[in-house]
Symmetry: C2
Subunit: 395 residues, 2 copies
């Protein structure tokens, strides 16, 4: 099966494996920007089996360029799921015990409605006519999906980076629906530096003449060069300086001497170019604009009198917050702010700063200490919820 | 006077104020890449008066996008010189005592030969036919300029960032011509992360269709969008996260609410766009490719059996190395490597890590402690050299 539409390398929603529902049919979703979204598709995957009392649901929220293919081969890249080492039978998030749901985010490009979807009003791709969305809008769509599935509340919501923002929004918007929340390598508001890096990525996309003012799909073009540059910039921020040094140093790519030219002499150049080139095969440029913008706009406290603690007042949810020592995009300090706010309302919160050399990407990698602590938290929370413990019944 | 060629916004060498000489007339310069460069222009500025025994020369090496207009109004931007607060009558680098020379670097775009200069062989701009140059080539051109001016040796060579690389190369290549050397916020080799950021900038330029494979000048175009994105990316790396936060935070630009769009809602976006837009009025895109490449290639130890200390064996030069605490592009560790190498050969070296919130840009700003220590070093070295001290004769 080829899941691309040829020239544009853009996935047609119909070609994707997995579940898809249409939501907002009876009542549209009122977005934060004021627009209404009606009768729109949401794509999602599930792993494991929903138990009888629907008490074993884990919602996984994916990051900026992630998707719903958490624990299975990706239909476009052929690579294993982005949390395949964490989610599965007998794994830390054990699909023999839990029913895991991950939906493609609102504004995404893997089956959920976004700027590359067809605008029913025009019969053409939305493009920049798609309303600008927020992290709260994304979470509202996920809540509508759970409503649709008849699931009132969930055992746990987990996610890293922008996924972590969604976790925080879940806990703030729907405290009674979330038993446990695990925000990972994230922040309660996007920093000035992070907005700056996103803005560079957006400008790179918009600078590509093939972006066509956002109308490239209708015009049969694709701003691959701009999107590739955006991805390259972002990718540097996902790694630590020391990881880049360890992985590449100043080593040359398939040559013994520098060539005195502009080819990729250094391995790190070759690696980055590869990251850029492969990204455009699976991602939509406008979707990149919308989702980075949603992250930039995220400032949870702004809805709560600029006091983050108010977002979690009287929360019944138990939290486990993770950060990684070498993550300079969402550094420990940004995660600690969340913990401080939770402490200020006497919430049940654990905080683990994981020693790692892998930068922001650490939450996607096989970080043993992270996985061990995460497993401990999940098991402990499951006991409190009265769910069967690892390899046995509820204790 | 308009100093631009209209459509391309590119300075014609003839329009620039200041000095210009042609070098390599009798004997060409053999570049590191093996090419010969013959009869080429070098633009430079001087401040102060050369004393009788030519012992009061200070060479200032400019950074990637700097130029020779150190301490006077810039002919294109109308802004004050980039080290105007340090170089001048009665200032830290006192032009009443010293004769300061700064030349536009080889490969630059402010009067010294570079890719936008006319290739005598074709009568058209060099473009990508210009040979790829190195930091050592830049320093060799500066040495040729001093030869031309009849100056055998210099009291001091100073520079920050890529200017600091030139200072290190000066000390390594011409130890007997350099009495004192001040490398600032620099490194003896460009790091993997820094190569990565440069590569993103280059890819942004090359992704712009108006780059025309490097031939844009001949085709009457200019890759302003790509160059602007490159500048924006680089600009983020010049500031510290805390400086960005202090300067901009999440403050909005001329509005009270977010607009749910892709305009520059945040001040940091507006600021970055401005940096990008103004940069293209004074800089040549190909020149950006060549000079970033020269920095990437810089690895001083590679010419000395991969042992940096060998580059400074038996050096008679006295050094003062500076770093800034919040500089994450050329962090203290990178500067300390230089100090360690100098210590290993028992060189005369001071090292000052300046506490600053201003990131890499600190060396260009009014950093009081930096300026005070720099002044102390210059005065002390001047005494040892037998030059008149501040406000008096030689002691």
């Amino acid at each position: 099966m080829t899941a691309t539409t040829g020239e544009n390398n853009i996935v047609k929603d119909d070609d994707l494996p997995g579940h898809s529902v249409r939501l907002g049919i009876d009542e549209p979703l009122r977005l934060d920007c004021g627009a209404d979204l009606q009768n729109f598709p949401v794509a999602y995957q599930t792993y494991g089996t929903l138990n009888e009392d629907k008490s074993n649901v884990i919602v996984v929220c994916h990051a900026l360029t992630g998707d719903q293919f958490v624990a299975e081969t990706h239909p476009l890249t052929g690579k294993e799921g982005w949390w395949d080492h964490i989610v599965g039978s007998g794994k830390t998030i054990d699909t023999d015990r839990f029913f895991v749901i991950c939906s493609n985010i609102l504004g995404g490009c893997m089956g959920t409605v976004g700027p590359k979807s067809i605008n029913p009003a025009t019969g053409k791709p939305w493009g920049l006519d798609f309303p600008v969305i927020t992290v709260r809008d994304m979470v509202n769509v996920q809540a509508m999906l759970l409503d649709h599935l008849g699931i009132d509340d969930v055992f746990a919501v987990l996610g890293g980076s922008m996924g972590g923002m969604q976790v925080l929004q879940w806990a703030a918007s729907f405290p009674d629906r979330v038993f446990a929340a695990v925000p990972i390598a994230t922040a309660a508001r996007h920093s000035s530096q992070n907005i700056a890096f996103h803005e560079v990525g957006r400008q790179a996309i918009m600078a590509d003449l093939d972006w066509c003012g956002g109308d490239y799909l209708a015009q049969g073009k694709n701003p691959n060069r701009g999107l590739s540059v955006a991805r390259m910039t972002a990718h540097i921020t996902y790694m630590s300086e020391s990881a880049l040094h360890r992985k590449f140093g100043r080593r040359l790519q398939d040559r013994k001497e520098i060539t005195y030219g502009f080819e990729a002499d250094f391995q790190v150049e070759s690696y980055l170019r590869h990251q850029g080139i492969t990204f455009v095969d699976r991602f939509d440029a406008n979707s990149y604009l919308y989702t980075t913008r949603a992250m930039d706009y995220f400032d949870l406290a702004s809805d709560y009198d600029d006091n983050l603690a108010n977002a979690f007042k009287d929360t019944p949810t138990r939290f486990c917050v993770f950060s990684f020592t070498s993550d300079w995009l969402f550094p420990t300090d940004a995660n600690r702010e969340i913990v401080h706010a939770l402490n200020a309302v006497a919430a049940n919160v654990s905080f683990a700063e994981i020693k790692s050399d892998n930068g922001h990407d650490a939450f996607l990698l096989d970080e043993q200490e992270f996985i061990r602590v995460l497993g401990g938290f999940i098991d402990g929370a499951a006991r409190h919820r009265g769910l069967p413990s690892r390899g046995g019944d509820a204790s």
